[in-house]
Symmetry: C2
Subunit: 330 residues, 2 copies
């Protein structure tokens, strides 16, 4: 088997290195004979793809390099494309992907980091941190007190790798967790799980709301003005999904009216968020620049573990756990 | 036994109410016969103190109402003074307190809340939140990534109720915890505990530093320019103790030079911190207005539980666990 790793040009922090590859092989000795190539430019990519069985790369490179119909000629042997991010919304529609090529995402890799970040966001919202950050700019010392998390209710939309990890942390801290996902199968961290079609019924209970679902046609604009109004007054919201999952103007309206007490977002509909955008100055909103789920100290090691776990499943004739269902979009 | 509860005038959020008292008696039925009085003004206090065996009140009221030598005449039967805060530094020196009157603080009450807040602060520092809050003001989207807590090293100065709870949370999240306290007795959450006289030896290992000690003559100015310089470059610091435990100018210098990556403080040497103070604009510093350890939803219930636990010890001839050692100051 031959694997090609195409890193983005000029990427220092998250490029997969030969040393990381060797370390991963040592952890997965059953893949010791695997051949590998690395490139970060077009020449390297064009040279390597004709022989590659597996391509490891970034969604932004896939979106750029494979227009519909071009992949079979460029990479005739390709069986697996593994992209090192979890969200594959920028690859939709999947008309560029032949049906016999499996697309894997990297969902498991972000769980530990995202679980910690989600817990941090819940604690920050409970403790009014977005408000204090804005008070500090005005040099105003205005104490407000916050509760411990135990006993509070959080609604987590999306129970995949990110949402599931956040639900687990919230549950460990004594919160009542209501899960929302496509199909309402039970989840160990959730007191209750409902389908996305029942979202309106649970929003009035959500003191805290976490958006952690993939961006699909079904979740685009999920939180609009009507649904923000269904949240209880004083609700607190955290978005670790994608910017378009909420309507940003509706969010800003709900913060300005005081209906929402505060919010934290790690995502925006335009990234990088341009200066002058309304989000920058919304009251009681704290923005982090899409960094919540990526830990540079462990990211590539975890990604390669995910890759080998999937390749092992393929070798053994099992379904690959991170394979994207292109009809669902995740 | 007769207990007098003196609330601050005009205090809405944290005043102990008759309903909370009744609920506490129901949890502690062995004190069912206790008589109680409530007041929030001088007349009520003057009328109740001559009969009171126990006074429950705030440090700021004690500091105001009992000048040295006045307590025995005002409250001749008094055996116990319970103040509903943990820090008693504003009551020093204890020359106003007769030797046969026990002074109790409220240290246990803050543990759960402070443990969560301390964990939040560590996560916020790991995730560059003070920097992002300042980037937001400039409308700058500049991703930086942060590690999970597991494997990182934190030094916690003070292992009382607050520091102990934070050490436990940090340890649960896989951090290596080095404890520092007066006498270097082991602590279950700490890989290692050293005495305060060995602080200089452990500072170079402290990627994260948490100040959670009482303010005493020994801890005033503990973190000065020399000790900040002993921390590794890029260290991150959280102060949940008292403002004077660090030298605020030395802190600001270390942040401005970039030697410290970031800091969070819940305390200041002047509270409320006045507009124009240097702390407000220090780079990569986030300020919360002394609210970290107080949960209005559980505070008074927990406080009264602490009180009854101590009164039970007194009744049974045991040492009262929250009695202040006036020579040590905590």
């Amino acid at each position: 088997m031959r694997i090609h790793i195409q890193n983005p040009e000029g990427e220092a922090l998250f490029a997969i290195t030969p040393a990381q590859w060797q370390a991963a092989l040592a952890r997965h000795p059953d893949f010791a004979g695997t051949e590998v190539s690395f490139a970060d430019d077009e020449a390297g990519r064009l040279a390597a793809l004709p022989q590659a069985d597996v391509l490891v790369t970034w969604t932004k490179l896939l979106a750029r390099d494979f227009k519909p119909g071009t992949l079979p000629a460029a990479a005739p042997k390709l069986k697996v494309v593994f992209c090192t991010s979890a969200g594959v919304d920028r690859l939709m529609p999947f008309d560029w992907l032949p049906q016999d090529v499996a697309l894997l995402n990297n969902s498991g890799t972000h769980a530990a980091k995202a679980g910690e970040f989600g817990l941090m966001a819940l604690l920050m919202l409970a403790n009014h941190i977005p408000t204090f950050a804005q008070d500090q700019v005005k040099q105003v010392w205005a104490p407000r007190f916050g509760p411990v998390l135990a006993g509070r209710t959080v609604c987590v939309v999306g129970l995949g790798s990110l949402g599931g990890a956040i639900a687990e942390r919230a549950s460990q801290f004594g919160m009542t967790v209501i899960g929302v996902r496509g199909k309402p199968a039970p989840h160990p961290a959730c007191a209750r799980v409902v389908g996305q079609d029942a979202l309106d019924e649970v929003l009035p209970e959500a003191e805290f709301l976490v958006l952690a679902c993939p961006l699909t046609p079904e979740t685009r604009g999920l939180m609009d003005a009507r649904r923000f109004a269904l949240l209880p007054r004083g609700a607190k919201v955290f978005n670790i999904a994608r910017g378009p999952v909420w309507e940003e103007d509706a969010l800003c309206d709900a913060l300005e009216s005081g209906h929402l007490a505060s919010a934290i977002t790690d995502v925006a509909s335009q990234e990088p968020l341009p200066a002058g955008h309304r989000l920058w100055t919304a009251p009681n909103l704290l923005i982090t620049p899409h960094m919540s789920a990526d830990d540079p100290m462990t990211y590539n090691d975890n990604s390669l573990d995910v890759l080998f776990r999937n390749l092992r499943a393929m070798r053994d004739g099992q379904p690959m756990p991170q394979r994207i269902d292109t009809r669902r979009g995740y």
